[in-house]
């Protein structure tokens, strides 16, 4: 062959070959289960084109009012959930972190517990809560609180654990007791990270809240599933657009917030 590779034996490196073959095998083997049949895609083509065409039609102007209200509800849900979650997650994280926990033997069980809470997607929590307490924003907020507490506690705990030991030793050297060490030594160092995580949780919760409505847990998700069921294309366009606008505005706001605090 005229070509060769810059390796010891001139052939493609063994690991790249293995990865390529591995990917091929895995994807090929799962193609059928994942429904990857070209026929299905060919049939769907014209439908997709139709859909895109419909999405670009003039929006339902009367819908914009309720849409705005829905967005406000969505964002409100997220803010409330974040606030409550922050308040709950802080003490939890303090108990979970090696640096700050008064009793080590509860730190690890708590970590496992929050890991399990974290593993269940927020929509599933919402589904469960809706079945428990009914429709409306309440189950959605509850679901958000549970998942946010779970990952916030873990992030906080990690930040608390990697704090530099210097300042803590400094405070200990003047004879401070355990509580003072933690309050003045560990906590202040972790604050920039913690605030960044709070901002992230707000951002993430707004994204999540837009969707929870699909199972009836409040927010614009409900409007989305309605519009789809009733094939109200002139509402779908503004809905999708509003998702985009919310998330990008939120990105910018959270960037600015983060910069002001750090």
């Amino acid at each position: 062959m005229k070509y060769a590779w810059p390796t010891l034996n001139g052939q493609v490196s063994r690991s790249w070959l293995a990865m390529g073959i591995g990917a091929f095998v895995v994807l090929g083997g799962t193609a059928a289960t994942a429904g990857m049949e070209p026929g299905r895609f060919r049939d769907a083509g014209p439908h997709l084109a139709d859909l895109v065409g419909h999405l670009l039609t003039p929006p339902d102007w009367q819908f914009l009012g309720p849409l705005g209200a829905g967005l406000v509800e969505t964002v409100g849900m997220a803010i409330l959930a974040s606030c409550v979650a922050i308040v709950v997650a802080m003490p939890l994280a303090i108990l979970m972190a090696r640096n700050t926990t008064p009793w080590l033997f509860i730190a690890y069980p708590l970590r496992v517990f929050t890991a399990v809470l974290r593993a269940i997607p927020d929509l599933l929590w919402a589904l469960a809560f809706v079945a428990a307490v009914g429709l409306g924003p309440v189950p959605g907020i509850a679901a958000l609180i549970v998942t946010t507490v779970a990952y916030l506690a873990k992030f906080h705990q990690e930040s608390l654990d990697v704090v530099a030991s210097g300042p803590i030793e400094g405070i200990a050297s003047v004879g401070a007791n355990g509580l003072a060490r933690r309050w003045y030594g560990v906590l202040p160092q972790a604050v920039p990270d913690l605030v960044g995580q709070w901002v992230y949780s707000l951002d993430s919760n707004v994204r999540a809240a837009t969707i929870l409505g699909i199972v009836g847990a409040g927010g614009v998700g409900f409007d989305l599933s309605n519009a789809v069921k009733l094939q109200q294309y002139n509402r779908l366009g503004p809905l999708i657009l509003s998702f985009y606008i919310i998330v990008t505005t939120l990105d910018r706001v959270s960037d600015r917030l983060r910069r002001r605090v750090i």
Partner: protein
């Protein structure tokens, strides 16, 4: 005794805290949450939790099959996203993009794909594909393209410009600069972002079934709707174990490749 130290600057913190409390109160009022009786709700919740007595694994083979489908959906979604993102991230990189306009369009497209929730895409695709895993794969793929595209582009922009300059000075084509100077330098970031996307996609794929996009979400929704709680409990356990397993696998892959 005068010490000459100026008075302590006013701290804005109390004001912030008060503002946030006010905001929360406003939200509670706006959403009419005060109608929500905490006592009643906790009783409801307690009673609800007690319904999940013990998991019933009688349909286990079915659950396993659908869990496998869920993972398959995640694999294909992530795979397509990876390929497309690798091919297109070059345009969204400021120092490698052929033109400022191309850069802007590419970046905004990735942003858009990332911002729209997977579920929204899934619901739209179901309108075209009908119920089934294809909608799930496409939804995850689109969202993944947005996330990975933006992530790769940002990593490429963080590479020291000297590395790119060396290749530009020998007259390399833009694609060659990308392949020889760009990708090797961000290998670790590529692996991290892709594995993260896969993990996330498994989680999302389980959820997408709730709207009909295939996978284990379908029987789960059914079970909850029909109040078959022991079945739902069993399904949740299957989902949980699979999620933990995939996290473990991607962690080990990450450690070996990084």
């Amino acid at each position: 005794m005068e010490t000459g130290i100026p008075p302590r600057p006013r701290s804005w913190l109390p004001l912030w805290l008060f503002g946030i409390l006010l905001l929360c109160a406003a939200i509670v009022w706006k959403l009419q949450l005060t109608q929500f009786n905490v006592q009643e709700a906790s009783e409801d919740l307690g009673e609800y939790v007690s319904r999940y007595k013990s998991p019933s694994f009688q349909n286990l083979p079915e659950y396993l099959r659908l869990m496998f489908q869920t993972v398959a959906i995640a694999l294909w979604g992530s795979g397509i996203a990876f390929v497309v993102a690798i091919l297109s991230c070059g345009w969204a990189t400021r120092n490698l993009s052929p033109h400022a306009v191309v850069y802007r369009i590419a970046r905004e497209t990735f942003s858009f794909l990332r911002a729209v929730p997977d579920l929204a895409f899934a619901v739209l695709f179901i309108m075209s594909f009908g119920i089934g895993p294809q909608a799930g794969v496409c939804a995850l793929a689109l969202h993944g393209i947005g996330f990975l595209g933006k992530s790769f582009a940002e990593s490429l922009e963080r590479v020291s410009f000297q590395t790119y300059e060396g290749l530009e000075s020998v007259g390399a084509h833009r694609w060659q600069t990308l392949v020889f100077a760009g990708f090797p330098s961000i290998q670790r970031e590529i692996v991290g972002a892709t594995l993260y996307t896969f993990d996330r996609n498994v989680r999302m794929a389980a959820v997408l079934g709730i709207v009909g996009a295939g996978g284990i979400g379908v029987p789960l929704k059914e079970a909850v709707d029909l109040f078959r709680y022991s079945d739902a409990f069993a399904i949740l356990i299957v989902i949980l174990l699979t999620l933990l397993a995939t996290e473990f696998i991607s962690d080990s892959i990450r450690r070996r490749l990084a």
